[in-house]
Amino acid sequence: MDSVPFTVPSVELRGGARMPLVGYGTHPLRGEDAAAAVATAIDVGFRSIDTATRYLNQDAVGEGIRRAGLPRDEIFLTSKLPPDSVGYEREVLEKSLSHFGVDQLDLWLIHWPPGGRPGAQAWRAFLRAREEGLVRAIGVSNYSLGLLDALAQETGEYPEVVQLQWSPVHYSERFLRGCQERGIVVGAHSPFRSARLDDPGLVAIAEAHERSPRQVIVRWNVQHGVAIVPKSAHRERMAANLDIGFELSSDEMAAIDALTEVG
């Protein structure tokens, strides 16, 4: 499979940036493996690349994007601030931009709530970075609804995106609806790692669409409006993760929702 004809849907974030709902996750690739994988992912059809300062692969990701040869504005580039970098936000961002070889990030996330708290100090630095045009959109990762509310209460502004480990076993209607009500797009990292890919119900739905359980999970996220960043170093699997030009019925969506193990 050379590339995927299916066009990945996207969502407009509150600040106006448009984010593809399927992106390419780069953890834990580093070095040439990361550069080659990113170039391949873009060639296959990905237009969103997800990485983080912690992954130590930003220079390789930048190299992969350059190798792909597409105009910069066709790639949605996400990175994340480590929670141990409170007070060093600007320095970390400038290093990220330098490593990527770009002058603007499309999305910058706080990777984890610093010390389990909202991280208002870091968030204010994020707001400044967006005002200065160094990033187009800002968000957080691994935050609960309570922390999102606390952050907004302290700073006056909700994140545009909240990324967290999210698969059918993590599904929470309350969380999803709560984020939608607050104008926050949910992002899914590690979408397959915790999923029960051999669940008979999931397998049956996949067989009904002549797809794999992984493809069903990607499609399920997209239909929920959740941005997903699956990772694979193999071209065929990358292509499969984008080959989601099918529709899950409302019954199928409900059946997958019901796989949740969230109490």
């Binding site: 912690r54 929670p83 409170v86 984890w112 010390g115 389990g116």
Partner: protein
């Protein structure tokens, strides 16, 4: 993880050093020593294990009969003699030349045991192991790099989930879970060293230990600096890393001490390279260190080795040596110190950090 088979090279190195010192056989009794010549981590064994390396590099093990099955599993077909623990084993004369570390047993026990197990003249294993450990073979460096990777995972598992309500054992459990998922899980303890390297208490014992904590509760005192160290193993090889978090905005004094200590360690690291003199590294540290700061660098591998960056050390650093550098300083009288520690491989023109993700500065988590 790949398995490496150059343990023969290490035994040959031990035998060569022994030969230059006039010995034809070397006894290694510490877990670090036994691991060096066997790739076995004996800390999981019921009884002590002794390894004797002969001049031709051949290996003979002596172990408790209680460990027969475990040894058969990890070194099938090895030349092993088994002993059965008897009450009289604890009698004997202290053998100063035999480092006897395992599970709190005394040197006297070791002497009695050696008398039973290895009556021939034996070289002092500890000094020869220290000499052999000054430089590392490529397979050892690969394991040390993997241990550095595990240290970074342990670090992120610590700080990403740290919040003031946690208890120390909950942090340890988070780290253990993350490391097992990444192929790690073993750890070593500074306490097994006789080099005086353990300058502080840690709780709990394990891959991650919170330094200067009250063991009764392991509570995270949010008003205090929160130093913690990480001691993961890859195979039988480990690195040592440490840094310090604060869970509330630090006072001016704490921040100043942290910044000065961070600058001092950076200055020391900038001086580390092959053939550097320990005094030059120490002087670089002292030029920026805050009052009351301590600094030490010691060899790491299958265990903590000799201090090579310490008062009195004079031998130049060796290329391909793995050295852990630890700096600490008081910030609030009577409260936990600020601690930064990293492990590097000494190269021709610098120091290659094995745990670069771990910040050597105060981590402000609030």
């Amino acid at each position: 993880m790949a398995r490496f088979s150059s343990v023969d090279n290490r035994r040959a190195r031990i035998a060569d050093i022994a030969a230059t010192r006039g010995f034809d056989s070397v006894l290694l009794s510490s877990p670090a020593g036994v691991a060096y010549v066997t790739d076995i981590d004996v800390r999981r064994f019921v009884g002590p294990v002794l390894a004797r390396v002969s001049a031709d590099g051949s290996l003979r093990l002596t172990a408790s009969s209680n460990d027969r099955a475990a040894l058969d599993e990890v070194v099938p077909g090895a030349d092993v003699s088994f002993w059965r623990a008897e009450p009289g084993m604890s009698a004997g004369t202290r053998a100063a030349d035999i480092a006897w570390h395992s599970r709190g047993r005394t040197a006297a026990e070791g002497r009695a045991f050696v008398g039973v197990a290895a009556p021939e003249a034996l070289a002092a294993g500890r000094d020869i192991l220290a000499e052999a450990s000054r430089t590392r073979f490529d397979d050892e460096l690969a394991l040390l790099r993997d241990a550095g990777r595990l240290s970074e995972i342990a670090y992120t598992a610590t700080v990403d989930r740290m919040h003031p309500e946690l208890r120390a054992f909950e942090i340890a459990r988070n780290v253990d879970r993350s490391l097992r998922a990444a192929g790690g899980g073993g750890w070593w303890s500074l306490d097994e060293s006789e080099n005086g390297l353990s300058s502080t208490t840690s709780f709990p014992e394990g891959i991650v230990g919170l330094l200067d904590r009250r063991q009764e509760t392991g509570v995270l005192d949010v008003e205090d600096p929160l130093p913690f160290h990480l001691l993961p193993l890859s195979g039988a090889y480990g690195v040592a890393s440490a840094t310090t978090a604060v869970l509330t905005e630090p006072t001016r004094e704490v921040r100043a001490a942290g910044e000065a200590l961070s600058s001092a360690l950076a200055a020391a690291l900038a001086e580390v390279r092959a053939h550097a003199l320990p005094g030059a590294v120490d002087a670089a540290f002292r030029s920026k260190a805050p009052e009351g700061a301590d600094f030490v660098g010691f060899v790491v591998g299958t265990g903590p080795g000799d201090p090579v960056l310490a008062p009195g050390a004079s031998r130049r650093l060796d290329e391909s040596s793995a050295v852990s550098l630890r700096a600490s300083a008081p910030a609030i009288p009577g409260r936990p110190r600020i601690v930064f520690q990293t492990t590097v491989v000494v190269t021709a023109d610098g120091a290659d950090r094995l745990d670069p993700v771990i910040p050597l500065r105060l981590i402000e988590l609030y």
